[in-house]
Amino acid sequence: MLYRDALNLALDYAMEHDPRVVVLGEDVGFYGGNYRVTDGLYVKYGPKRVIDTPIAENSIVGTAIGMALMGLRPVAEIMTVNFAMLAMDQFVNQMAKLRYMSGGKLFLPLVVRMPQGVAKQLASQHSQSLEHFFASVPGLYVFCASDSISAYHGLLHAIRMDDPVVFLEHTLLYGMDFPFEYVKNFDPFKARILKEGKDITVVSYLKMVHDTLKACEWLEERDGISCEVIDLTSLRPIDFETIYESVRKTHRLVVVYEAPKTLGLGAEVSARISEELFYYLDAPPLRIAGEEVPIPYNRKLELRAIPTPEKIYERILSWSKSHGL
């Protein structure tokens, strides 16, 4: 099932079973969504529940917060994470704080969905990965989905929660086809071990998961290095227990992510591992991440700026060599 269809299915299911669920955002209604995630919902549920908004991100999130406070369960779409910068006040000062500042009296059953990451030549203002902005704010939950299974179940879980969730998607994943199945008791707070291994723990999320899996396949086939690949479905909170357990077994950690290396999510994961499992480490943790540049428009430069399967493979291989594996 296509990733976008899985998201669509989750929205459709939620709207069908709960009349309080509404969808709002730019072009989500009549046009069916910029990435066609909300395709068909407008026809099925009408303009009262699938709401086309003006191009004003701050007010989209603000409206959604108001709806949530008044008892609806809105799912807002921001066209891309880059435009969410216009709504940061709502995200950080309102969405994240209201539950806490009301002493738990207010509920915010609210989801804001948005894609991020490098697609193909969308240039620097449309290609950013900003998950660490949201994941650094207490009071928010940040989910992300790397395939159709986590997209469907993760989004449905987020809609059912009484707390505000930022739901991150990846622009390039929308058109990708993944095997799909219904999973009982899917828990987005629990990281998924996509491939078991014994030599290296590799943590990743969103699209990088697939590049990582490809690289790890090569490492296993060509170099006999067996990697355990962990896919984070929640970036706040991060399921450290699963990572600890894996690192206790492998004694080595690699984090792969698309955002620039500095102050990214990989910094948090490797710092935690160093704090908690220092004596279990057989090598310094390795971060494979984007370069410290705005994403270039030129396709070749664009690919140079982010990890690719080839780069991940080479980095892990040379790192293991220099650190005695």
């Binding site: 622009t171 058109g175 086939e221 480490l281 080479e314 040379s318 220099s322 650190h323 005695g324 594996l325």
Partner: protein, 423 residues
């Protein structure tokens, strides 16, 4: 893409699958609005393409004649792949009727190959004695290893990693032969070190240990055996039946040079010429009947079973067959059998007579229609043979006729004489 497709001239222009949106990776041709030979103006719509659930019109960027359509309606291709070839320029009065090239099957998705391993620029980090990874220190402490001392002696690298300690432990306590056995019996290093603390573990000690504990030895299944196993399981579900018959082979003058097996290959191969069903391969809704008799021979080499094929038996003399069987055996022993050597038989002969086996039956090799299990030739020339037939191809009537024909053939003096002469 490198260059043009075969047959395209320099003047030709490739119409590529366009990228309608930044996330579009593949597109499907819903409909061609122009056909081969049609003249197209710039901006004219030539096809409808579906991508990401939307159907979009593909306008021509150039003026010219559509020479070839490479992707048919309903097919999907990646962005950037050519979908048609246009001959640029003004309208051509009579479009040349060119031979229509075969539409390619679904374009293959190029499997990304791993990049070459990085050049050995990144060497292992080297530090003066005294360094180790945190985990290596933990391990050394557990095992009572003095890291610094060993590093100074050059027996451990600095910084030391877990793997170095593991290797060191192995060399310290195990002889190389014992290490090999360790792998064969899948024993755990830790268990043995616990069992025999501070002792050099050699082959004898390990073998005694294994015997005492009754640990099985692990023998990997060879790739030949693996394919045999999978084929056997597949053939076993083929509906089949047996015919048991005793043959009088007293007239067959076999010797060391040309053995009974060689004779049987020839006689059976000749007989197959009269029964096309024995030269058949079964497909879902048809049979493929081969003109020549290709006979397989079950051949044991070491622990493996090979099933090489003697092709066109009907055209070969006994001596040629004997020569070919020897050649195939030699190749099997050297592990040089090619795919050609093992492919194409419709019938196989398996002879266990030389081991004193009186009668047995065999499983038809996958894809074939018959196997003949040959037993021991008794004093008076009587030999048990069991025929196993694929019932989907050969019914009892055909089977019986074939066996009867064979029985008569081995008693045909003139035929035997002719073969011997022709040998």
């Amino acid at each position: 893409m490198n260059g043009y497709l075969a047959g395209a001239k320099a003047m030709d222009y490739e119409v590529l699958m366009p990228q309608f949106s930044d996330t579009m990776e593949r597109g499907k041709i819903v409909r061609w609005l122009k056909k081969e030979g049609d003249y197209v103006e710039k901006g004219e719509v030539i096809a409808e393409i579906e991508a990401e659930k939307a159907v979009m019109e593909l306008q021509s960027f150039k003026r010219g004649t559509i020479k070839r359509i490479l992707v048919s309606e309903g097919q999907e291709v990646e962005v950037g792949k050519p979908i048609a070839i246009m001959e640029l320029g003004e309208r051509i009065e009579k479009p040349k009727v060119e031979e229509k090239p075969k539409l390619e099957e679904k374009p293959k998705v190029e499997e990304k190959k791993p990049p070459p391993p990085p050049k050995e620029t990144e060497k292992r980090i080297e530090l003066p004695p005294g360094f180790a990874s945190p985990y290596a220190r933990l391990l050394a402490k557990e095992k009572g290893i003095d890291l610094k001392e060993l590093q100074e002696e050059g027996r451990l690298p600095s910084p030391t990693h877990a793997k170095d300690i593991e290797e060191f432990e192995k060399e310290r306590y195990f002889t190389p032969k014992a290490l090999e056995l360790l792998r064969e019996y899948e024993l755990s290093l830790e268990d043995l070190l616990k069992e025999f603390p501070n002792k050099k573990i050699d082959e004898d000690l390990l073998l005694a240990y294994v015997e005492q504990k009754g640990i099985p030895r692990r023998v990997p299944v060879s790739s030949v055996q693996k394919s045999l196993i999978s084929n056997l399981s597949k053939s076993f579900v083929v509906p089949h039946y047996h015919i048991y018959e005793v043959f009088d082979l007293s007239l067959v003058p076999w010797d060391k040079e040309i053995t009974l097996t060689h004779w049987l290959i020839k006689v059976v191969g000749d007989a197959m010429q009269f029964f096309e069903r024995l030269r058949a391969v079964y497909r879902e809704d048809h049979y493929l009947i081969y003109p020549n008799s290709n006979v397989g021979l079950a051949m044991a080499v070491g622990d493996e079973l090979y099933n090489p094929v003697i092709k066109e038996v009907n055209r070969k003399s006994l001596r040629e067959i004997a020569q070919e069987v020897r050649e195939l055996r030699k190749r099997a022993e050297e592990g040089r059998l090619s795919l050609e050597d093992i492919r194409g038989a419709t019938l196989t002969i398996s002879n266990l007579g030389m081991f004193g086996i009186r009668a047995f039956d065999a499983v038809i090799p996958y894809g074939q229609v018959c196997i003949i299990a040959v037993g021991m030739q008794e004093g008076d020339g009587k030999t048990h043979m069991t025929f196993t037939f694929d019932h989907r191809v050969i019914n009892g009537f055909h089977g019986a006729l074939f066996v009867k024909h064979l029985k008569e053939r081995v008693l045909d003096k003139n035929y035997i004489k002719m073969l011997k002469k022709g040998a």
